[in-house]
């Protein structure tokens, strides 16, 4: 199976969801009109509002159905004949709580056939230093794998993948393509590249290589109150190699064709996922022990 993916990075206008939906639609229009090879177009974390909103999450959050409806309305005038899948990040209002969420959508020419395929709510909420997510949004509770038109996939958001266990769970559940959306403010300027750009590349390459999966990463750009998001969106193959990456800080889109058949080749060369599967029962007992001990210790 070949999947043509596009990772997009642009600078959203702060808190202006309508304007940012317009821009998402503009990108989709460009993809359709210029025949840019695309089955899945991936946008960064919080692309509909910008990342640092603090209490502004209350004003910018939308129900997911509204995001779908608004995007479909904008997409219809130039909709292409074949379906187009979209991944995007936004602040979500769901069941009376706010979340940092991602949607996987399938857009079709007929508005009524457009649909939400999957919603991921960020599992690990960074709340340290410059990050304050736990103050303003609730934590998602699932790491799910879902079926797309192109096979099993997962969507993860930013700190979700800084914990290797999250990627391991998604891989064990059968995801072959990881859509990883991010908003990463640049810090660390003594190396050959911005510190967190190098860290991101290391994390995504390690994750792809360890599990033999494809990674499509879309990462926010633009300065928000002095904090600059790095961009450098990238696609990583199951051998842990960066196939393509977008420029630092600049608005851009990158394209790549994913060949899921390479997954088997990568896993045959390095069968780490199979090893993990075989050791899973023992690992689970180890984890349960840790959890029980922690629980007992905290009771003392």
């Amino acid at each position: 199976m070949k999947i043509r993916v596009v990772a997009v990075q642009f600078k959203p206008r702060k808190g202006d969801v309508e304007h940012n939906l317009d821009r998402v639609a503009e990108v989709l229009q460009q993809v359709c009109e210029e025949n840019i090879p695309a089955d899945v177009v991936v946008f960064p974390e919080t692309i509909l509002s910008g990342y640092f909103l603090e209490g502004g999450v209350r004003e910018a959050a939308r129900p997911r159905e509204q995001v779908l409806t608004e995007l479909v309305r904008r997409y219809q005038p130039f909709a292409r004949p074949e379906p187009l899948d979209v991944v995007l990040g936004f602040y979500e209002l769901w069941h009376g709580k706010y979340y940092n969420s991602a949607l996987y959508l399938t857009l079709e020419r007929e508005a009524e056939r457009c649909r939400i395929v999957h919603t991921h709510r960020k599992f690990f909420l960074p709340t340290y230093g410059v990050f304050q997510e736990k103050r303003f949004v609730a934590r998602g509770r699932n790491i799910e794998v879902f079926r797309t038109r192109f096979g099993p996939a997962t969507v993860l958001i930013c700190e979700d993948v800084w914990h290797s266990i999250t990627g391991a769970i998604a891989a064990l559940k059968g995801a072959e393509v990881f859509y990883v959306i991010a908003a990463s403010p640049g810090r660390g300027f003594h190396g050959e590249n911005v510190g967190n750009v190098m860290k991101w590349q290391e994390i995504l390459c390690n994750m792809a290589e360890e599990h033999g999966i494809w990674v499509v990463n879309a990462s926010l750009v633009g300065f928000e109150g002095g904090k600059g998001f790095v961009g450098n969106s990238m696609v990583v193959n199951p051998f842990g190699q960066v196939v393509v990456s977008a420029p630092l800080m600049k608005e851009a889109m990158v394209t790549a064709t994913i060949d899921t058949e390479e997954i088997a080749i990568a896993r045959a060369n390095a069968p780490l996922l199979a090893d993990l599967e075989s050791g899973l029962a023992d690992l689970l007992i180890e984890m349960q022990e840790i959890a029980s001990e922690q629980h007992a210790r905290d009771r003392q």
Partner: protein, 287 residues
């Protein structure tokens, strides 16, 4: 007995000189984008005014603004007082000439002395504060006249030391250098091509004749930046001392740092409600 080779970790694992090194081309690229994004995209200003003191901070700021906005959109403002050194004016002119930016020279003496005639006994510190605040009046007024944004020039070391006049030097709405230590600003200056005479001269606020920053502060910037680096990361005094830094210098830096937190904040407001601004009602600056 087979003896194995013993490989020891280096004694000194905290090389502050190395830790403070910056990738100057990358920082330049980043700060140019910062200025364009925060000025043009976010605030709708294409022009900048920079108070040029002839020192390294304001020179670097002018160099960055010229790169980001084009020299034709940058105004370098020289604001001498009658006791300011002639060298300050000359060095500011070097920057103006090298960059080809616009310039104005406003003598703040009549304005400063106009007030101080009522306070003839004001000491050097008060006089310096009046000068710094007068310079901000000029910068903000000229920015209104030119439809430009005043760009701040304060570096991280002086911000951490509280070595500035509150709501004066620190008041411009954007500041590219505020997260760079002084020794890092020097690195950036050399990369950008700021005239060497400016980079290598002793830093001075030039508010009192013959004054230098390092005399005022009681420590060299090289040493201060290294100690600050470790203090900010959470190392205890004893740990920093073990690295080989003199205890009295660590305590001096720590004292300055801890007595000036207030200077890095907005004024303290009495909270009465659950919608108190910046306590409960939280919106970012660019929202």
């Amino acid at each position: 007995m087979n003896r194995l080779e013993v490989v020891k970790a280096p004694e000194r694992t905290h090389d502050a000189e190395e830790l403070l090194r910056i990738n100057a081309p990358l920082v330049t690229e980043w700060l140019v984008e910062f200025l364009r994004d925060e000025m043009i995209r976010r605030r709708g200003f294409r022009r900048a005014v920079v108070g040029l003191s002839g020192g390294v901070d304001s020179s670097v700021t002018a160099f960055l603004c010229a790169r980001a906005l084009g020299p034709e959109n940058v105004w370098g403002i020289r604001m001498p007082y009658r006791t300011s050194s002639a060298e300050s004016l000359e060095h500011a002119q070097l920057v103006i000439d090298q960059l080809g930016i616009n310039s104005r020279t406003i003598d703040i003496t009549p304005a400063v002395d106009g007030y101080l005639q009522y306070e003839p006994d004001a000491d050097g510190r008060r006089r310096g504060n009046v000068m710094a605040r007068m310079r901000m009046i000029v910068l903000f007024d000229l920015s209104a006249a030119l439809n430009a944004l005043p760009v701040g020039t304060g570096n991280k070391t002086e911000r951490l030391f509280g070595y500035f006049t509150w709501h004066a030097d620190d008041s411009p709405p954007i500041n590219p250098l505020g997260d760079l230590f002084k020794t890092q600003v020097w690195q950036l200056a050399r990369y950008l091509g700021v005239p060497e005479v400016i980079v290598s001269k002793p830093a001075t606020a030039d508010l009192i004749v013959g004054q230098t920053d390092e005399d005022d502060l009681g420590i060299s910037y090289h040493l201060a930046d290294q100690i600050l680096y470790f203090l900010l990361r959470g190392y205890r005094v004893e740990q920093i001392e073990e690295m080989g830094y003199p205890r009295e210098k660590i305590l001096l830096v720590k004292g300055r740092l801890e007595s000036t937190h207030w200077k890095r904040h907005l004024p303290t407001t009495a909270m009465l409600s659950t919608t108190s601004i910046n306590d409960y009602y939280l919106r970012p600056v660019d929202y």
